[in-house]
Subunit: 365 residues, 4 copies
């Protein structure tokens, strides 16, 4: 219950500190006989790794994943899959000056307050480096979901106040290709260009900026999600809010939906052949989820990220003794977290869906 | 894992359908020797019950709570506390016409798709009536938190596009009094007046409207929340998203924070005596939570509710055979859910905090 | 985590004190569309209820079960099933003399030590009355298992040193009939007669005596049970050890198996058509479980019950102040618990198997 | 829920196959600021490792443990502790002949039946090699418990029908020294000698033999264990039954207790100063546990192990096609598992007690 596990039936446990020996993840409950494509897992990690482009941190980590257990002759065996990512770039001296100083809007103080001890090297466990383990596990969840016909696509929808138009296309492969052709990972090339320019200027200011990521899930059958507390969107919300720097989550009509009337917001079902597997509504304010359960339409949600707290400016703060202190901007950090977070959002969505898929199997015999 | 329980150490399980015999809740893990004030629990339920005012549903339920176990001579004993709320107003005939028809933007279809069977009377388990059980349990969580000096206050911050100004006061008792003096439960009287007028006009149109609820937690010590997946705000987010009709959650700077720069968003700690229990920042974009762990500042978050799906208009839809069908507006429903949802938001927040309080006790010996 | 829930996917939570308003149970995760036969549930409770015969307690409780939720038109809906058993015979005065006295080998002292408060009426939550709720829930698990072709049969194999011979028959219906024809619930009529005489003489001495219950599960497919920690027999063992007065559990060859050599103990598989669903061994020392997973053979285990602690003799003890005190034999108690415990053993076995059945569904897609 | 985790608050997850890259364990919930003594952890592993003596398997594995996370400057930080034990001796060819053959009384068949796939090298996940991970985690639990004044001691009480007398001494350090002076790990030297001779003769026969391990816990305060399902002895029982080859568990008076009368079995409390922390009974049939909760007396239990299934004889069996097949005795296996299992029993007991210790903290504020 110390919070390092996620999911019930498709369950992961992550471990590792930013500057320790390694980080990693155990997946318990991955169904047997799934083809484990290590190249795919690595390619997902490559989308999150540092040092990708001029608008990400310049730290270098290859983030090479190793498999320790649970796979035999290329297939999952039903036993725990352990994935290990050794830490290569442990340049702790970058952080040596922060031993006794609480960086503004970082977790330094709260770890001390909670545990009375803190691995101060690079944020220790509070570092977003932990999310690499999620991406590795999420890649396996994606392989499982793909087998079930479920696909997930996320991209950057805003950086600061620069907002991308809604996507028209339903072709996720095409969108993925467009997204990966630009370093900010926005599927609208014109907006992407604008975003990149903006992040670059923010970076030159030694500053950072927030942004938003939108996600769509296609091919999800009706019936996923448990009523009451473990609603599908509640699990998705928790998953997203557990990602470093996330401050908000909305699905379907979201916050804007609170301004509408019922007569505007209701999604009208379209007549169909009597096939419960096919359900279509004219609009999709519901975001593919009714009463917490998927209805077969596209699942849509959006995630808001605050700006990265580490800036290259000098800032006032306090030290562990509560005294005034100054922190100088140093190190190699992201000016904007969303380009690297796209694959994290997808990974967490995949983990939720894989888990709810298995849970749904037990609803009826 | 069927989703009817919430919390790890302070854990509730709810049961009951809208038009069944009763609804109720089991609280497992409430610490022993807590004074159980039944009048307080009932007064909380009264804030959620139907038929309170002209802007809520006119259904009548006294929602009288009974205690079945776990309390001896007025005190909790450490054993499960069972609370029962018998259903009085089971006027099922209001719903008889919906047996085979899927109401737009309701959970009717997905329950059929998931379970192959559905208690169609008043929405069965998907009805917001289930939240009465949460309010009863949340009241006990509030009693526990009050003992620890933690207090929770929520109010309606918007209805449609009518938005209340930010609260200036820190006096929760005074705010509570103001809030309870108007039927929409907004702590700003002028805005409250406007909201009530608007909801009443929407109601006369046979329509409904969405809104938002803001919540603040005061007196929360630093250290609550578990790193990585069970971050305090992730648990709060899941709790809120599990409430019927909620489509969005944000804490601290929220969605707006994604538009800011790090140099604007960072909360600067103020120098203090060397007391880890006291931590103050000049601003509070963090919403009282850093790295998923409370820092001792006010915890702030906001919840968006979509408009109620049941409207008094005729709507196109489909029946269980997938054929076109029409649903006529009937029954007694809320034109806007937020006035009655304020106490639900507080209850779910209380359940999260009580749970994380107990979990935090195990972090260090 | 306060220990009042059992199971993962087919999960129960019990509540209620011996002399409170009611006891009950919530079943979360019972698959939808199961026929809920209330007569069967009641008939199971009747096998556990007090006052059945001269060798059980003479307390009278009809133990009439009510259903509050989760069943619609006779079928489970997939939502929580709440079962309530009101307490009728709350003759608390029988227990008034024990308020401050710790009865030898009862839980009085440890509840005070743990919680600092204790519902002393009839043992409160520590009373075996709680097991009625398990029997009710177990009855529903049995209905589910029967649908899958799995049947469970337990009977009394020993009372004191009187031991029944091993059962020859494989006809569970016939054995059940024989068992229910005698009040001690041993399926060997001659031994049953001897046991009854013995218990009656012990009762006349104002004393009590222990015994053992054996259980067999037929029709269980291969594959139930999770490797490593949640082995099928580990879950069965925990289930049995959680029953009041149980001091030991063994399966298959059990304690006697520890005296054998591998060459004696190994069960030799018999050649068969290439059908993984059929696996037969010449012997069954394994008790139907290999590596924690069912192999399709009969599952067999045995449970040891200590003698009931309440005797009709005066006993030395201490009071809450730690002073010497004497307790006088009073009240209406069982001279031997095993006749009423047979159905509890079956219920707990059913709950484990239903849970592991659902869990196994998620092992492979 | 795939069964590779154990514990609620002090929770471990193990991974790894017998002949994979490595095995390991994640400990989530170890309280912060605990001194992590790596030498002690390694010395515990050394007691379990193969190749120790003539009466254990002659396989060689140094079982060297590495720490990957969760420890900073020698102390636990409250974050997950990852321990890794690389597999050195992966002589898979010893097992090559078993690819398609189901070894009698092994888990080969059930893994195929459950998962449809099986890592046949050395038993894969079903190998007792997995217990090395438990011993490593249990060593950390022991360090935590020692800080709380709780100590655990197990030794071999029987091999085949050779039974050691009950221990008279209460000096666990002295007993530990005696135990470690003989290779069978029985604290009675005369019996130890006899056991060793017997195991050696069994080994020369190419056969194996079962045995029993007894365990005592000293210094456990009253109050550990949760009522109803998570009784202290139910958790201990599950823990022990989850160890490979265990077929029975009993605590306190155990199976023999079922033959006694209440007037013999009741433990009479001794008058004391009014200190709830001190509770003494004249006898200890309860095994230190009443109503599932520790009472402060010594906790005592016993565990029965079946004989190892791998024998050096030729045996009849079937292959994956269900055809008759013969298996030849080969490889390097233990003639008797109990000498190496003593430290596994202690480790699992430590994990249960550490978990229940933390859970008990949340019972009362």
């Amino acid at each position: 219950m110390a919070g390092n596990s996620f999911g019930q039936l498709f369950r992961i446990t992550t471990f590792g500190e930013s500057h320790g020996v390694a980080i990693g993840v155990i997946i318990d409950g991955c169904p047997a006989q799934l083809d484990i494509d290590m190249d795919f897992i690595q390619s997902e990690l490559d989308k999150r790794k540092p040092g990708q482009s001029k608008i990400t941190t310049q730290r270098k980590e290859s983030d090479t994943v190793q498999i320790l257990s649970g796979v035999f002759e290329g297939k999952s065996t039903g036993t725990p899959i352990a994935l290990l990512i050794p830490n290569e770039d442990q340049r702790s001296k970058d952080y040596g000056h922060n031993v006794d100083v609480y960086r503004p809007s970082h977790a330094d103080y709260v770890y001390d307050a909670k545990y009375g001890i803190r691995d101060h090297r690079g944020g220790g466990r509070s570092s977003a480096r932990e999310t690499a383990a999620r991406v590795a596990a999420g890649a396996i969840a994606k392989l499982f979901l793909k087998q079930q016909g479920i696909e997930i696509f996320a991209h950057v929808t805003s950086v600061g106040t620069i907002e991308a138009p809604n996507l028209e296309s339903n072709d996720l492969s095409a969108l993925l290709q467009i997204r990966e052709e630009n370093i900010v990972r926005c599927a609208d090339p014109a907006t992407a260009h604008e975003m990149i320019e903006f992040i670059d200027s923010v970076r030159k200011d030694g500053d950072t900026v927030g942004g938003k990521i939108g996600c769509v899930v296609k091919g999800c059958p009706a019936g996923l999600g448990e009523p009451v507390f473990d609603k599908l969107h509640a699990d998705l919300g928790k998953a997203m809010l557990s990602i470093n720097a996330v401050h908000g989550f909305e699905y379907g009509s979201g916050f804007a939906g609170s301004e509408l009337r019922g007569s505007q917001h209701n999604d009208i079902p379209q007549p169909k052949a009597a096939d419960l597997k096919v359900f279509k509504t004219t609009t999709n304010y519901a975001g593919g989820i009714l009463g917490g359960i998927s209805n077969g339409m596209d699942i849509t949600f959006k995630v808001a990220f605050k700006p990265v707290a580490t800036i290259m400016h000098n800032q006032q703060t306090i030290n562990a003794a509560g005294e005034a202190s100054e922190i100088k901007g140093k190190g190699r950090h992201d000016p904007c977290v969303v380009p690297r977070a796209v694959v994290i959002v997808e990974a967490m969505a995949a983990l939720v869906l894989a888990d709810q898929f298995l849970r749904n199997k037990a609803s009826i015999i």
